[in-house]
Assembly symmetry: C2
Homo-oligomer: 440 residues x 2
């Protein structure tokens, strides 16, 4: 990978998400060489991906170039690399751009969608974990309405306007809310020839409440908000199968829909070489001790979604969310500095700052340490915290401009099909042809 040798120990971090990036930033300018590897050249602010999918934000305003973050750091390197295998005996990382040795390795690869082995679901449903995926959903959503205009078949038209969201966690709730908002404001004006009232937004939750990681108060209020906005909520229902058209569940309930969005499960994005059965949990997370050390692998750490640190409060590991990732990244950076100085490491202690979700305009739910509130004020708190958490002044300003504009105008302007999704996925041809077809 053409990284120069240094007299400092080399710490390789795989993944520039919340965990890996926080760690790399906190180890900047210390007596260590930092090499950050990621498949993308940017950090993605995942909590706002749903706004990209629904045309409320441009993708570029929730992404931030990783090189820009590292550029002021001495002894820090970034490489755009897809890691294929880790040889922990020789301490070598294998990737699509070559090999690299490490003194310490930090795995921060995050999580990926979990289809629990359902191949049909994996093949036919949309997911929303990366920016290209969010853009695919944006394209599909808009292409559906273009197609709905054209078909004389009323059942097909309904299926094109029927959106099934599986999973009642924050992503599912926020996406359902955003779809309901464009149903009520943007779409009837954009498609005056369609009866947009027939558009359905179905939210399917396997458990008996939405946002099950939050308080009862929050989940009840979120449900009330969504219902008022026209979202159909089905609880205690599991989706069994989906062939791209027909959704079947474990009950009598079934749907005809060309768009199923799967937000019902995540698993650790595990990595070859550190994936022995005894190292991984059932959801492919890497088992770590209270110092984020991977059990049985000296000099290897894991942080963020990929790490499962079991504690009394969290018998299955911390929630796979931004807060634990950021806190583990910060904590491990301190522990590594201690380690390099020959001092003893300190155990990680998670401080639950609370959680929040937004449903729509003036509608959010917030659980703080002891305080819980919902509605307008919660919505402003949600916006403020998300703006503040974005990386980069430009991104904050552009997101702020969009939000103010959308709020005043009841409008989301970036409803653009830049790269068509549907037209491509139906055609079987080489990618080069696809590029040309898209770019004409």
């Amino acid at each position: 990978m053409n990284i120069p040798q240094s007299s400092f120990p080399r710490i390789v971090v795989i993944g520039g998400g919340f965990a890996g990036l926080t760690l790399a930033k906190n180890l900047a300018n210390k007596e260590a060489q930092i090499v950050l590897l990621d498949k993308h050249n940017y950090h993605t602010f995942q909590p706002l991906l749903y706004q990209v999918s629904t045309g409320g934000l441009e993708p570029d305003s929730i992404a931030y170039p990783l090189r820009k973050i590292l550029k002021a750091h001495k002894h820090s390197y970034f490489r755009l690399a897809d890691v294929s295998y880790i040889d922990t005996d020789e301490k070598i990382i294998h990737s699509d751009i070559g090999e690299l040795t490490y003194d310490y390795l930090v795995i921060a690869t995050g999580s990926t969608t979990n289809f629990f082995g359902n191949k049909n679901m994996e093949e036919n449903s949309m997911v929303m974990k990366t920016i290209p995926q969010a853009l695919n959903l944006r394209s599909l959503l808009l292409e559906n309405f273009e197609d709905a205009l054209l078909t004389p078949d009323l059942n097909e038209r309904d299926a094109l306007m029927n959106f099934v969201i599986v999973g009642g966690g924050p992503t599912g709730v926020e996406l359902a809310g955003a779809l309901a908002e464009i149903k009520n404001s943007v779409l009837p004006e954009d498609y005056p020839d369609l009866d947009i009232r027939r558009m359905q937004i179905n939210l399917i939750q396997s458990g008996d409440q939405l946002l099950d990681a939050m308080s009862d108060q929050a989940s009840e209020k979120a449900e009330k908000f969504l219902k008022k906005m026209g979202v159909s909520i089905y609880k205690n229902v599991r989706v069994n199968d989906y062939d791209g058209k027909h959704v079947t569940t474990n009950s009598d309930l079934s749907f005809e829909s060309v768009t199923l969005i799967w937000t019902a499960g995540v698993k650790g994005a595990s990595i070859k070489g550190i994936d022995a059965a005894d190292v991984l949990t059932k959801s492919s997370r890497i088992k770590v001790d209270q110092y984020n050390q991977v059990l049985g692998y000296p000099r290897v750490f894991a942080i963020g979604d990929i790490a499962a640190m079991t504690t009394e409060d969290f018998p299955h590991g911390h929630p796979m969310m931004a807060q634990p990732a950021i806190q583990q990244g910060k904590h491990l950076s301190k522990n590594i500095i201690r380690l390099l100085k020959g001092k003893e490491m300190k155990p990680f202690d998670y401080f639950d700052k609370g959680s929040m979700a937004t449903v729509g305009r003036n509608k959010a739910v917030v659980d703080l340490h002891r305080i819980r509130f919902q509605g307008v004020f919660a919505w402003f708190v949600w916006m403020f915290i998300h703006l503040w958490s974005l990386i980069g002044f430009r991104n904050r300003l552009v997101v702020f401009v969009n939000w103010v504009y959308n709020y005043i105008k009841f409008d989301t302007e970036v409803r653009l099909i830049i790269r068509p999704y549907k037209r491509n996925s139906h055609k079987k041809h080489t990618e080069k042809e696809a590029e040309i077809a898209i770019d004409k």
Copy 2:
């Protein structure tokens, strides 16, 4: 296409660029049914594409949804359609979404890149006429530097950092200037391990001056600006061939480069059914009379880049730029209203407002009707006019925020590889696989 029948005559407009959009807007709420067809669901503000390619602007801020423009118009319809053939005898348009009859047809399909029959050039060079193309160039540019870091072969590294721009018109000049700016500010900080001084920007012009449609004063000043910024300019040179690596010219001059950007020619984006040899000019533009009527085809008009109206001042038709397109769109809308009222149409008269190009920070050249100026003031005029010409308040605001930010920080932040270009084009696999590979 599922357009309702109306008692008004149906005017079909193909293309939502400057010409087609201006026409459609000016025919809004008149006694005519307007159907606007476009391959994209948005209007592209082409003059700023080069800033998307060089990471200065997000693509979404120079695109505007066509449906949003038409939504307040009575009797106006938009369809996302790729027109394949026009049957002028039966007055039927054939497209990928079906057929449509017309009473009047307005062709505003614009222009496409002209490689003058050179297949190698077409296959191996980058172009910048659409947003996906501009994004491909942005990805390639950044991927080149990532690759340059990795290769131990110094010649290959130089070839990765050698950019050859063919064509010294506004697009070539503006792109060369933008590349020179990121060479001087962003890239040395992003890639401290590379010797960015070895990056070359070569601008090749077949004629004996740059910006040959502008005044001598403007072209000389633009050349001086570019040279000062480190761009190598070759005049009176024609590129003969390019195999993706080696650029040969009609002189001794040759280049080793993996990135050749072709801005040296445009031709009319002609359409089957109206492409008889006697209707088209040598550069595939459709010959029209002074009312923008296509010669020999009653009830068919052409406006903008695709239309070649020969006048005393413009023996080969008006320049293929925004101004003639906008003026023809506006003028034809008035003529169509006259026509519908049984009045006589008026001939088109082009008013040359002048032209301008920007080279970089504080450096632009402006030719107005009689006044010519260059430098800082010209640059502010250029910015003001481009901001003002953008469609939509949100777009103007976001572009303004980006420009102020870039100006203060000497930085362009959207250097993101959202959809890799290079990695894909090397692999031969089906598009579905490509989607998955990209979206992982």
